[in-house]
Symmetry: C2
Subunit: 441 residues, 2 copies
């Protein structure tokens, strides 16, 4: 006999976890689609060369890479961005630009497994490529806002920034060449605090204490979003990049306001850089207000060129990615109503009785189903207690039973399993009667 087990860092999704995951993915799908993003999919397995490019050792270490049957050097995708870049290089000549896509699927990284970190996890990305227009940047905020509203969160904050401001400030301080270590250190501000950031910046990036302090003024500008932009404009407004960054952020805030995004949902944070050297314009992070510690659950930004590794065509773009597994962990912690422990998608269970002709239960179920309700038939005429226990364990809301008397009268009994009440309905009215119970407050 073989021991049934999963690999370290991998996990099963039983129904009680998979039902909410499907709901999260379906919500994201509907929101992305409602803004005109079209789905694409790419293979899980690709040429290692395609996924890793010239490949740093770091990425090599975490990638699942092997030789296939044809001795090809292949690897499992570690994100959805690199395959999208490869796809774009091949397909954009036919598809044209602008091109808006979303993609959802598992990715694999052989990283150390910490709490809530898996080696297989789902990403859920959306991007608009082939345009420099700020209109696409603005839309990312609208999509994130719609998404988290539809996911049933009422306390979340979208933090935005624009790398042009950071770059302009570094230029005005004469430390553009040190931007990578400076911004990497700046990103640690929340974690390690002001003093240690200044210390690390001077040490690691080789800037002066004054330069470090000037960079930190960005993080320390306070007040409303508009106050912050005014503050940085007064200090660095002679720098063209800063001017451009401020202009784009002001438009973003204005449009979000016109469309009805509450002001408190968007918070300018002029210090976020999102480590990656990849982002060049607007930057987005999304935090759950009561769980800031889990980090951003939806992040992204604008980049200058998506697919430079594979094509000469310049493809600027902007997008973001929903961290599905991190979000599910947060929803569990927050006792989100979508994770109420229900492990069946069926609201209704039809019970079977031995004296009733085969097929009657399925006929009842078909009637309820035709009313748009998910309904399961218990597969055996087991003892009623056992069938009710099953309904309790799975979380069905309603049970429907018909004994020979009811069959003769073309009726069925309906039990509200939450309220523990019972009623009888003619078969022709069964769907309506169940709807009434399910809709009851």
């Amino acid at each position: 006999m073989i021991e049934p087990r999963t690999l370290k860092g991998f996990r099963d999704y039983p129904p009680a976890l998979m039902i909410p995951r499907e709901r999260v993915l379906q919500t994201a799908r509907e929101v992305y689609r409602s803004f005109g993003f079209a789905p694409i999919d790419t293979p899980a397995l690709e040429y290692a060369e395609v996924l890793l490019g010239k490949g740093g050792e770091e990425s090599d270490r975490l990638v699942y890479r092997f030789k296939d049957h044809g001795d090809r050097d292949v690897a499992l995708r570690f994100d959805l961005t690199v395959p999208f870049a490869r796809f774009a290089a091949q397909a954009i000549p036919q598809l044209g630009t602008p091109f808006k896509r979303y993609a959802m699927g598992p990715v694999w990284r052989g990283e150390n497994t910490a709490a809530g970190r898996y080696r297989e996890f789902w990403q859920c990305d959306f991007d608009t490529i082939g345009t420099l227009s700020n209109s696409a940047d603005v839309e990312v905020v609208l999509v994130i806002h719609e998404l988290f509203s539809k996911l049933g969160f009422d306390g979340f904050t979208i933090r935005v920034n624009n790398r042009l401001i950071l770059n302009g400030v570094l230029a005005s301080l004469g430390i553009v060449d040190k931007s990578v270590p400076v911004l990497r250190t700046l990103d640690k501000l929340l974690k390690i605090g002001r003093e240690k950031v200044i210390d690390e910046m001077t040490r690691e990036a080789g800037v002066t204490v004054e330069q470090a302090a000037a960079v930190l003024t960005l993080a320390e500008s306070e007040g409303t979003n508009s106050d912050k932009l005014g503050h940085v404009e007064r200090l660095f407004g002679s720098e063209p990049q800063v001017v451009q960054g401020i202009k784009r952020l002001r438009e973003l805030l204005a449009v979000a306001d016109v469309v009805g995004v509450p002001e408190a949902r968007i918070r300018l944070d002029l210090s976020i850089a999102r480590g990656l050297d990849y982002y060049t314009g607007t930057i987005y992070e999304t935090f759950l207000d009561v769980l800031p510690g889990i980090g951003s659950v939806c992040s992204g930004g604008r980049y200058d060129n998506l697919a430079g590794l594979y094509t000469k065509q310049i493809l600027p773009g902007v997008g973001a990615s929903l961290g599905v597994d991190r979000l599910l962990t947060a929803m569990e912690e927050l006792k989100h109503p979508w994770l109420a422990g229900v492990s069946t998608p069926a609201e209704v269970l039809v019970l079977q009785l031995p004296e009733v002709p085969a097929g009657y239960a399925q006929r009842i179920a078909a009637l309820v189903r035709a009313a748009g309700i998910n309904v399961e038939v218990y597969p055996e005429a087991a003892k009623l207690g056992k069938q009710f226990q099953y309904a309790e364990k799975r979380g069905h809301a309603v049970a429907v039973i018909a004994g020979s008397q009811e069959v003769e009268a073309c009726k069925a009994n309906i039990k509200d399993l939450k309220a523990r009440t019972e009623t009888t309905a003619a078969l022709a009215e069964l769907g309506d009667a169940v709807h009434r119970i399910l809709r009851a407050p």
Copy 2:
């Protein structure tokens, strides 16, 4: 620069193919759920030992297998059944039986790639385990019928059989020990014809010509489903397994009739065995009437024990699997309306004009979206001709435009891109106006 390419046998899904694939998967999800099957997911990557068991050489050859970073012997799943068996062995003690699950996802096989055969392809399975009840067998037919009806096919046939009949017939002929090669050859009847089947059975299975001919009477029984059962009952009705198989099939046909499945949809085919030694009871295959040549697009059956490799708990079950990629290939060939070449999920495109304030287009879009319509904003105030070309290429049905005059009057112009007509609506009525166009015949 790196050449952008996919591996042989792997493919991208651009929007025009991915939109129908999502629709197929969503339809399957809704149908499975409507019968109370609950979703589960298992990892793509597992211990090779778990996936391959004692592993024949044949399966070894086609499985993507390698050593991970921790020197573990791992492999990519080649179906969804083996991981389900492993999952069941671990989870059923907590989840209890009966347990109804569906699973959807890619699987990988390093096979030779023929037309329409890929090394990565999607499966879409549903099963009820933990019960011997024929009620679960009957339901499989109801699910397949509902699924293909919802997929928009009107010409399909579900072929059913029961291995008990085949086994009983072989027993009565005294050739039970030769059942594997006999049934494997029998499955080729449609492909190679009667003479060659008899020839191969005598040669490969070592049965007599008379025995082979007797087995073939099963395949050759004609008339209605009821006629066929009567025929086999007369010939082999003294064999207990045959009696049991006939009883279960008769109930299946009766319940399907009660629930309203048209008689022509189900066709008894007493010869199908589905090669696999795995199946022990009811067997299902689904054919598209106008494309029988592509083979079964949804197949399955009853098995005696799902997870014997991993647990002592006996888990009988019954289920079937939708071949998503084969179905998509068929839909392409049949010019199914879901593959009409539309490459956007948005019905509506909002155009941008340079003289209109930023945000107005997004405001219009938000109004249309609030009416439940998917709507995209062209990201730039490009020339109108270019924006209309984009709508044409992507397949939007409606364009909405507001110039400064309309903005002032709180109105927008609506163009029906199919009928090439135009109307104007106040912003408050925009959603209704667009709905009217989209709903027009």
